[in-house]
Amino acid sequence: MRLCRAISIGCAVLLAAVATAAAAAAPTPPRATITAKHVSVTLLIPPQQLFPGESFTAGLEFQMEPGWHIYWINAGDSGEPPTVQWNLPAGITAGSMEFPPPQRLPLGPLMDFGYENQVVFPVAMHVTADFHPALPQTRIAAHLNWLVCREVCIPGKGDLSVSRTSLRAAPALAVTDAAAKAVVARYESLLPKPLPAGDTAHFRSTPQGFLLDVETGVRDRAAQFFPLDQTVIANAAPQPAKPLPNGIQLALTKDENLQSAPQELNGLIELPDGAAYFIHATRGALQQSAGIAGSAGHLAGILGFAFLGGMILNLMPCVFPVLFIKALALVQSSRQERRHLRAHGWIYTLGILISFWAIVAVLLSLRAAGRELGWGFQFQSPLFLALVAMLFFFLGLALAGQFDLGLSLTSAGGSLAQRHGLAGSFFTGVLAMVVATPCTAPFMGAAVGYALAHSAGVSLAVFTALALGLAAPYLLLAYFPGWARVLPRPGRWMEILKQAISVPIFGTAIWLVWVFGQVAGMTALGFLLVAFLLLAIAGWFLGHWPGRRVPSVVAALIVAGAVAVPVWAVRSFGLPPSSDAAEIAQLIQHGKLAAANVWQPFTPSLLAQARAQGRPVFVDFTASWCLSCQVNERLILDNAAVEQGFRETGVALLRADWTDQNPVITQTLAALGRSGVPTYAIYPADPSAPAQVLPEVLTSGIVLHALNSLPKPDRQSAAVARPISQ
């Protein structure tokens, strides 16, 4: 009996142990996705069957919440890349985790390299002939570690596994998860490639760091270098680029603590169209300026365009009033000697040239100092806008007849007003240049973009051609006063003409005031109008007692006070740039924007997201001070036919507002070969396809033609131009 009991107890214990062991050994259900803090990670294994001899690309997909990022293999100044350890059955091998080209992630004075929103790391996998599956299902497992950061960093880890049918031989019909395969294939296509055969990369040391020469086979305008070695380059430093005939040259700043020059520079070069190449640059001689001879003809062409652009600039709404004034002065002086007329013409030209050179000098200095500015930046300062608006208002008052500034209608100050003749012409030139800058005329756009990407000498040459073009019409009239004789003789009509000219002058003042209101806000605008009132009062003093000393002094003091008003107002009430994002989001939420086309504020990640969703993107680079932008938007982009075109092609609409000199937008413009607004670009859905830049003078036909040349989307996405889903 005792023996029986002992045996039964023993059996029970054994059974319990076996049961527990069996329970412990039961496989946990495989999880292909982990959702962790701010990130979800998925193991993508596209083929549904595993058999010997099979090769496929697996993917590790990371989806981050907006604003959160993970890191590239060289994370940059801070952070660490994700890592994976595979748990594979016998017969299956995995290659290393491949990293798609990263983005630069600036963090104050630091620079990191990584990914936002979504990234898939392709991993090449191979099923060898040794794969002898014992069970009908095979499990592929991976243990991952990652760091996801925004303002703070959250480390994470997890285990992923996926089960697939195991076969002893290739099946007749291989089943694949098409969606997973497509995602992995897309990121695999983005992976950096080696430089095309025969192309090389060299570098040379300079006092600041290195000049990296990369031959890509085509002339490239912009590129970014991402180092694979961590302590060689100063990550946050900008990388000024210089196009070469068949590649590009980047100036890299070295890490302060670099002890000895490296033998090789290893890294990636990313081009604006998304192509990326591995670089293993060796020390070598720089590409010789054989390139310069080839590009000389190119340069001449660009200079010609710049000259033409300058001439056409005379017709732009912001310059024409000034030319009006000069024509008026010409009319009054048509009886003077030829020499005087020619001198006037040359001095006017000199005024324009010197002002252009001064601006270019400042622009180049600032560019050298690393700030990214394009053409037109003076009007981005609200105080500058206010002062020019006040200047034009004051001139308008003079022209309308409130007081008289003498022959030099165009002088900008009381003392200058007395110096008619040569000085007056000089300052007319300066004024013409000042007002011309934000109006990027059709020819000017490309010329400016070209010049800013080149050396200082080339920039100066291009801007000189531009300045000469701007001055040419007046100079022509000064040289052939015979043509001025065609103008009517002076008479009472001159007074009427003078008063009539005040109309476009006031119009320009209104435009500037409107832009100022956009940039600085309504309160500051109110104070600017107060300053206008003070100017009118000063004008009354000048008009009531012309030429008398005391009233002139009083007027000057009032003008000084008037100038102080916007200075104080901008400082106290100037608005930070308003973001439309919140407004748009609210309107969409309330269903107010459901049926209309929605323009979302531009960010590079939104652009990438839309393209990843398979939608082409139309980007409108605009600014509130750019008159041609406003005209194009109201007349072309908002008209029914074009809106219909946007809806039908499912194009995502992004608006890049450059009113406040946003550096990200400046960089995007540079990548398109432009440095000013308006600029219109269509980015096809295929990330490797280059963006198409439309001309500055838009017509509905141009836009619709460009939209029609895009690949057609599927029906259901064409219902309405939806905002990009996040």
Binding site: D77, S78, G79, E80, L107, G108, P109, L110, D112, N145, L147, C149, E151, V152, C153, I154, P155, Q208, Q230, T231, A234, A237, E256, N257, Q259, I354, W357, A358, A361, V362, L364, S365, L366, A368, A369, G370
Partner: protein, 205 residues
């Protein structure tokens, strides 16, 4: 002409300014500074001339820093080296409102709770000291010799992870630099890329 000269001069000055961005280089003199510590005392680097000085950038929320504090590694390092006469300065360069920012009281409480033993904890909420030394991450370590020369700058050790289990088999660059310098040898590894979370300077996003 006058404009060209002005242009070149301006260009040169601006270029010079950008080159002078960051001021710390291994092998050169450590920049002097004056800063307030968590007890309200004023600390200057020059007052410690004649001692080895270690600067440790910290952020108590960063997982990389916590790896060293929760395991007791940092405290052990501080104790070991301050006992041998090294001045250990913990520096908090996080801006107010950002991760790692602490007031003097909070910092003193934290030090007591963690049993940390630095010579002083310097509060640098404006980030001036961090930027002066080009501190990029937490932790970021700088070792200065008795003559005021920087002999090591960079990571605390050679395992850039958040896992405390890696500490026992990590090579600690700070200890190596101090041992080598104290025995009169040249420091073998004087510069490495520091690892950690970015220093939370004001205005950085």
């Amino acid at each position: 002409m006058a404009h060209s000269r002005r242009y070149f001069a301006g260009f040169a000055v601006l270029l010079a300014c950008t080159l002078w961005a960051f001021a710390v280089r291994v092998g050169t003199a450590a920049p002097d500074f004056t800063a307030m510590d968590s007890h309200g005392r004023s600390e200057t680097l020059s007052q410690y001339r004649g001692h080895f000085v270690v600067l440790e950038w910290t952020n108590n929320g960063c997982p990389f820093t916590r790896k060293h504090y929760e395991s007791g590694n940092m405290q052990a390092l501080q104790r070991r080296w301050t006992r041998r006469g090294v001045i250990w300065l913990t520096i908090l360069s996080s801006a107010p409102g950002r991760q790692g920012y602490m007031t003097a009281t909070e910092e003193n409480a934290y030090l007591a709770r963690e049993h940390a033993a630095p010579t002083a904890a310097i509060l640098d909420p404006t980030g001036v000291l961090g930027r002066l030394y080009d501190a990029k991450t937490t932790p970021d370590m700088v070792v200065i010799d008795p003559d005021g020369k920087v002999i090591y700058e960079g990571a605390i050790d050679d395992h850039a992870t958040t896992d405390p289990a890696d500490i026992p088999h990590s090579k600690n660059y700070v200890s190596e630099a101090l041992s080598e310098a104290m025995s009169g040898e040249a420091v073998a590894v004087s510069y490495t890329r520091s690892y950690g979370c970015s220093v939370k300077y004001s205005g950085a996003e």
